[in-house]
């Protein structure tokens, strides 16, 4: 018997970072099931390629930097998977891969990798793709299309998504209740409303994500959708369409709750969620694109340290604060 020495504590409480990453990857993978059943193997190919590319980018950057390549924390896998979820299924495979390259090389590694990123890398990657190739990112194939090719271009009717219809000030033709099952046009992982809710519940119960941020985010979106509807309809209808269309719900569960880029104290988290929700709705109304969640999230990320400081009761624009 050879005994080792170590310092206490000798036990570890869950969640740990690897377990959190596992949870998120697991819930995101569950979201892939509906698209795979619906469209064939293409979503899976996209996800695998993007995750592979993001991991490779991280490794290359580490090599250049001269760091040891450890087991990794899996955060780049999460980033890659999230990017795929926000892309249409008929996007060319290189598009999510490019977004992942941007996310890892520009938004993540220069700031010191996981734990130091000031912006959510996935949001940055998707925003970049949306700005550079808006005609590819916001182009959705008809949801009745079956057996899409795994790699090649998709041929099929191009229809406008519910979010785009709303953006144009029209009422979508699909019923809100039908939207729950995810059979409508939109980014790949964001249409399975029920699965997103279940996944969110799972993450909240496992304490991997904070429910406060999500709640505040949805509350803000709900209030704005109810009182300042974009389309001519009743309050409830507007709320249903606004919350269920586009990437809003997905972002509220998976992206806004990212602990690295959100503020730390509880009241600050609530304020952050609220501000983020308001920004998303502002982007939906005044922005150039049908989906503004990623852009709104980036701005909210930049505000997060400021919100934290305001709520810790030490807001001052003096030297003392900034030197710390």
């Amino acid at each position: 018997m050879i005994l080792n020495y170590a310092k206490g504590p000798f036990i570890k409480n869950v969640p740990t970072i690897p377990s959190m990453m596992r949870d998120v990857i697991f819930t995101l993978s569950v979201l892939l099931i509906i698209p795979i059943v619906q469209y064939g193997v293409r979503p899976l190919v996209m996800a695998v390629c993007t995750m592979f590319v993001s991991v490779i980018c991280e490794i290359i950057f580490n090599l250049i930097q001269g760091n040891k390549i450890g087991a990794g924390d899996g955060s780049s896998l999460v980033t890659g998977l999230m990017i795929v979820m926000l892309m249409p299924v008929n996007a060319p495979i290189w598009l999510p891969c490019m977004a992942a390259v941007f996310a890892v090389i520009v938004a993540k590694m220069p700031f010191g990798a996981f734990g130091h990123t000031p912006f959510n890398p996935a949001a940055a990657g998707v925003a970049f793709a949306a700005l550079c190739y808006p005609h590819l990112v916001f182009r959705y194939i008809d949801s009745s299309a079956k057996n899409l090719p795994a790699f090649g271009d998709c041929t099929g009717d191009i229809v406008s998504s519910t979010a785009a219809v709303l953006k144009n000030g029209l009422k979508p033709s699909i019923l809100p209740l039908d939207m729950l099952w995810g059979a409508f046009e939109g980014p790949l992982g964001t249409t399975g409303i029920l699965i997103i809710c279940a996944g969110g519940l799972y993450l909240f119960i496992k304490r991997t994500a904070n429910w406060e941020i999500t709640a505040a985010f949805l509350a803000a979106a709900l209030i704005i959708a109810a009182f300042w509807p974009r389309i001519e309809c009743s309050m409830i209808t507007s709320v249903k369409y606004e919350l269920l269309s586009g990437s809003l719900l997905f972002c509220s569960v998976f992206m806004v709750t990212d602990p690295v880029t959100s503020p730390r104290t509880k009241p600050a988290k609530i304020a952050y969620g609220f501000i983020c929700g308001v920004l998303v709705m502002v982007f939906r109304r005044f922005g150039a694109f049908e989906q503004g969640a990623c852009f709104a999230l980036l701005i909210a990320n930049a505000l997060a340290p400021q919100i934290d400081v305001i709520f810790s009761g030490s807001f001052e624009t003096g030297d003392v604060l900034y030197e710390k």
Partner: protein, 196 residues
């Protein structure tokens, strides 16, 4: 009344949708410098606002003064710059003589606040958007506010962009530039590419 409402709306637009600092990338060398000295940050933004308002009003009349001609793109900027320079010298003189204590404290930020791309770009922006006088003032006020936001955000970001886990080459300014780039990208989502 409608003028005032229009002015406020234009100011709001200048902070969000038509943010020339973030989505236009104008004046970031000044924003960075202001962010490094958080103590004078508020006054810096106030100066910027005042000078922007002066410049936009001046630009409004100057735009009418110079008719479109072959020489106007050469002469108009020069005339504008000279006017701004005169305004600055006037302001510095008045402040120095009337409130010397104030001038001693904030004198060194007066010149960068008066003479910079943000202030000088006002007449062009107004010309591009074809704003009326009130809207021009509103736009200048909004730009001052967004300058303040930009400096406050960046003053925090400067610390985030310097930690021991990040690659040596990126620590400090390079990371800050990337930070600004990503933030600017977020604001570009408002306009979708078309700025003017």
């Amino acid at each position: 009344m409608t003028n005032i409402v229009g002015m406020i709306l234009t100011a709001l637009a200048a902070v969000t949708v038509e943010n020339i600092i973030f989505s236009g990338g104008i004046g970031f060398s000044r924003v960075l410098r202001a962010a490094r000295k958080p103590k004078t940050l508020g006054m810096y933004s106030a100066f910027i606002t005042v000078f922007s308002v002066i410049s936009s009003v001046m630009g409004y009349y100057l735009n009418r003064l110079f008719p479109e001609s072959e020489l106007s793109p050469i002469l108009r900027p020069a005339a504008l710059a000279v006017c701004i320079a005169l305004v600055y010298i006037l302001a510095a003189g008045i402040l120095k003589l009337s409130v010397p204590a104030f001038y001693k404290k904030y004198g060194q930020i007066l010149s960068p606040a008066a003479i910079n791309t943000v202030v000088l770009s006002m007449p062009y922006v107004i010309g591009n958007y074809r704003l009326g006088l009130w809207d021009a003032v509103g736009f200048a006020l909004g730009t001052g506010v967004s300058f303040f936001f930009a400096t406050v955000i960046l003053s925090r970001a400067l610390h985030q962009c310097k930690n021991e886990d990040m690659p040596n080459a990126f620590s400090g300014l390079p990371a800050t530039l990337i930070y600004i780039g990503i933030l600017s990208m977020a604001f570009a989502g408002f306009t979708g590419g078309k700025i003017f």
